[in-house]
């Protein structure tokens, strides 16, 4: 059963804010195998990042906490672990890349310092060895002339190069799972593709499980094996990329797909989804997408739909998917 690197079961994470309790992650389940990439898609505020932070147990304290559910990393539940034990998991077994390479590196230290720091935090080894391993780490993400790069400061590098270094730092301790939170959003389009291909290549080589958070369907299509679409704290549809793109079964997924611009055909005006996502502290009783859904039925407004299997590994939480 446990060929999954990561298995998340019915995860609930709440944030207490000044507007009240926000159910940022409200019953999310998914699983990722080694070498597999799961795309987590959704608009801003749908709970993607909160889900990722929950996995690392790094929800903003003291407001956020996991109230229910399991996070199984190689079969081992992280939720009840102590902070001290979690520190050993972070970085070493789960790593993360964030959106903005400009602020992901500490401006006052050289690249070498920072890569070695990441290595040192996880394995105690001699200094000379450390240098060699830092060079290896940079080489792995195809940084040209890594020996020289070790001596440069972040502000002397381009955004794409910095993001590679961030990747090198994340991958240096050889984690099992990499969480990439919109890693290419801040990069030029030309660099984006390069970076994605690089990630993909490294992933194959290391057999890395990857959770790829994005709102860009183009990237999902290129990078991911499976996709989960989040809306207002829940996964509304998940499935293999191809199936989900071809036959989206949840109206929200469908609407998202429709609003992606296409190259072929004459474009009148991009369809958009009317209305706003619901405020997470005042959720409607039924389906959360109901107020904006064009197929809405009376039942949708009162009862949250269960998750129905709609194909091989393809599931959707919508009454219309009911067999």
């Amino acid at each position: 059963m446990s060929d999954y690197v990561l298995e998340v079961k019915d995860l609930h994470a709440h944030l207490s804010t000044r507007w009240g309790l926000v159910k940022a992650v409200d019953g999310v389940s998914f699983a990722i195998r080694a070498g597999e990439t799961l795309g987590l898609v959704g608009e801003s505020g749908s709970g993607k990042t909160m889900t990722a932070l929950s996995l690392l147990r790094l929800l903003p304290a003291p407001a956020g906490r996991i109230v229910k559910g399991q996070v199984l990393l190689e079969g081992e539940d992280l939720v009840p672990k102590s902070e001290r034990d979690m520190r050993r998991v972070r970085g070493r077994r789960i790593s993360m890349i964030l959106q903005d390479p400009q602020t992901s590196l500490n401006p006052v230290f050289t690249i070498g310092n920072q890569v070695e720091e990441a290595l040192r935090a996880h394995r105690a080894e001699g200094r000379g060895d450390m240098r060699a391993r830092a060079v290896d780490a940079l080489r792995r993400v195809k940084v040209a002339a890594p020996e020289e790069r070790l001596r440069t400061f972040p502000h002397q590098m381009s955004g794409g190069m910095k993001q590679r270094v961030v990747g090198a730092i994340a991958l240096a301790p050889e984690p099992r799972l990499l969480i990439a939170d919109e890693p290419t959003t801040a990069l030029d389009v030309t660099i984006q593709l390069q970076y994605l291909m690089l990630l993909k290549e490294v992933q194959t080589r290391m057999g890395l499980a990857m959770l790829f958070i994005t709102h860009d369907f183009g990237i999902v299509a290129r990078m991911c094996d499976r996709v989960a679409v989040m809306y207002a704290g829940r996964i509304v549809e998940s499935g293999p990329v191809r199936a989900l793109f071809k036959t989206p079964r949840h109206p929200y997924t469908e609407a998202l797909m429709a609003s992606v611009p296409r190259m072929e055909g004459r474009v009148e005006r991009l369809p958009s989804i009317e209305g706003q996502p619901p405020a997470l502290h005042r959720l409607p009783p039924g389906c959360r997408f109901a107020p904006r859904c064009r197929y809405v039925e009376p039942r949708c407004r009162t009862e949250y739909p269960p998750t129905f299997a709609v194909g091989a590994q393809h599931e959707a939480a919508c009454w219309r998917a009911e067999p």
């Binding site: 970085g91 070493r92 790593s95 993360m96 602020t103 500490n106 006052v108």
Partner: protein, 302 residues
Amino acid sequence: MARLEGHLPFPAAPADADAAEDVAPRSDFGRLPWTAFVIIAVMVVVAVFAPLIAPHSPTEQSLPDKLKPPAWQEGGSAKHLLGTDLLGRDLFSRLVYGARVSLTVAAFALLSGGLIGLAIGIIAGYLGGRVDSVLMRVVDATLTFPTILIALLLAVSLGAGLRTIVIAITVIIWARFARVVRGEVLGVRARDFVSLARVHGCSSFRIMLVHIVPNVMNTFMVLLTLHIGFVIIVEASLSFLGAGIPPPTPSWGQMVADGRSHIASAWWLSVMPGAAIMLVVLAFNLFGDWLRDWLDPRLRQV
């Protein structure tokens, strides 16, 4: 501006090219606060080599020579360059040794007050929440006390002396450091490398020490220099009020106080140390201003 020229999206107008040439050389060398540097350098040298520079002992009394005016005035002599005081002590020598007191107090008080403020600011800013609220209310409370009053109180209860002055000034200035540093930490903490450090399993203590401290160092250095002048003034004020360095050790503030009652007949007694205080404080403030401007753009640019 100078940095942008190469990236202007429009073909640069000829006027721009001229402007660029004007700006470039001035930016590095010409804008240094030379006056301030010179005054500070002179003061430091004088304080360090006081025994070599002072022509007389600062405490040596010579009643026949009392109240001699400065050398350039009628009745003055080259023996006492800036004249003598009521007890016939050489004013110039006393000023020279007074510089020692001012600098010593400034160094110790800034070191202790600054470091305490730095630590508290970082803890408050990084941990946030209740810790932050409590610490910042203490800061607010400290800042509401009238500076001189609290220093006087301490001086009276602890007994006058160098140590007391340092403690008194520390008590006053740590809060100013704490508040500014905390604000800076809030900005640094929000940057991704701090989150990534946590993702990598760094402890809070390590993050504060390794990632936050170096990033607020610029601000801290600027605060330090901007406060040197302030500390010198506080020390002078305390000495002026009699709660500072006990005589006969010369201190500028105390010298101003001593000469006060003779301002009409022997103006130099108060004016010379007063001028010294003014020049030095002005120099340190100019230096601090310059340091802030010099460090700031780099901070933003990174």
